[in-house]
Symmetry: C3
Subunit: 173 residues, 3 copies
């Protein structure tokens, strides 16, 4: 977790790297929420390490990470919105960078009738490969997380789903 401002003054040359690194993170998150797990092969390094939720879910290597994500988030009854904000990215060398991000996430499991909501801070490491920037280490620590049994709220109703309703709302215009 960064405790200080950027280690060196930001230059115009850094800005292309920063935009590419942000976009890498956005692609990672889009692949997860839209269940495009195969596409993560081009986002993570082969020896990437992930340590989610304060280390509660720890995986070594791209294959193990993708298998975890697919197993835990692959069902079409699993609706997730992982949103990262507030990038504080430092290019630390010719081919290395670090990043701190805020996370907010909502997960709705319609088969378990459960909502999980939370907030966290991510700490990442990135490396530049011949094919572009990749995530080399990633992990977050929760500010909070809470679970809501959906049956506790009478009338709470899902009115759209990427998978069950083709992304279309059932509400009238």
């Amino acid at each position: 977790m960064a405790d200080t401002p950027a280690a060196r003054p930001l230059t115009a040359d850094d800005l292309v790297d920063l935009e590419e690194l942000k976009r890498l993170k956005y692609r990672y998150l889009r692949c997860i929420d839209l269940k495009r797990f195969d596409d993560l092969v081009d986002v993570l390094t082969p020896d990437c390490v992930a340590s989610y939720s304060g280390g509660a879910y720890h995986y070594d290597g791209r294959d193990a990470i993708i298998a975890f994500l697919r197993d835990s988030m692959g069902a079409e009854t699993f609706h997730s919105s992982h949103r990262c904000h507030h990038p504080e990215i430092d290019v630390t060398g010719a081919d290395t960078a670090t990043g701190v991000w805020a996370l907010d996430d909502v997960v709705i499991l319609t088969d378990w009738e459960l909502t999980i909501r939370g907030s966290a801070y991510y700490t990442d490491e990135y490396v530049r490969t011949p094919d572009g920037w990749r995530i080399h280490r990633t992990g977050y620590r929760r500010i909070y997380e809470e679970t809501l049994p959906r049956a506790s709220v009478p009338g709470l109703k899902l009115t759209a789903s990427w998978w069950a309703t083709d992304g279309r709302s059932e509400l009238p215009a």
Copy 2:
């Protein structure tokens, strides 16, 4: 929906366009949530097409889009927070660009005692005009959407409103 990284390497010259395109989107969203519908004339092209919620709400032309937004969101009992994240923008030509954005939105209708929450992915097309970038096509597909009858949660209470309390909280400091 973008399936791949940027079509060509990002250059420093692109960065001004990217910032302007992000700002265009932020202006569009601010005009909606603050009910400045007239200002959308400078945000959308005259022949803009909008296809919201997987096509459930489809409008051809700027006038039709603005009329829909004003009719559905104009009341001061309609409180909305539409937030776009994770821009993956490609400048595709001298005067054209595409964008993918994540959306989270919360709507509180105090007269209907209803909350609507959701998440989606936007796919946009932009064109550069003599007056700057404009949105030419826009639309999103829901990951999820849910409705909550507010009376189902005893004690759930609105404590501030841009319109009803002049944006000021009724909570003590």
Copy 3:
């Protein structure tokens, strides 16, 4: 609140300033949510003015602002996620800038068994000092704010906390 597009065309030279100003805001928000109040000394000007929640909470001077934040948000039973989005930043002079930001925030007070959720628009002023950009004026006006007594939702449960569980979820993988 900005009513118009940027006052002058954006240049490539502005982009480093914009990135530094965004990062300043992200640091401010991270210091608040992670309770690093001492670090705010390097984020705010000594004569900074803060006017939160439509003026309901108004503080003159950095010391008064930090004291307010520490007093109201310092307890480890206070879990907050303040997220700023949609920056519309104008560099208005050699050493001055203004910014408009959207805010979404969630606060969970476990000792009060209360959740506060809201949305707002921030209007900021920044000044460049010999040590970098600082926040000189800041304040927001609510779109909405609501309070939820957590006991009203049977089964609603905190499953992680930065402070109580070391940021680790109690949920199985």
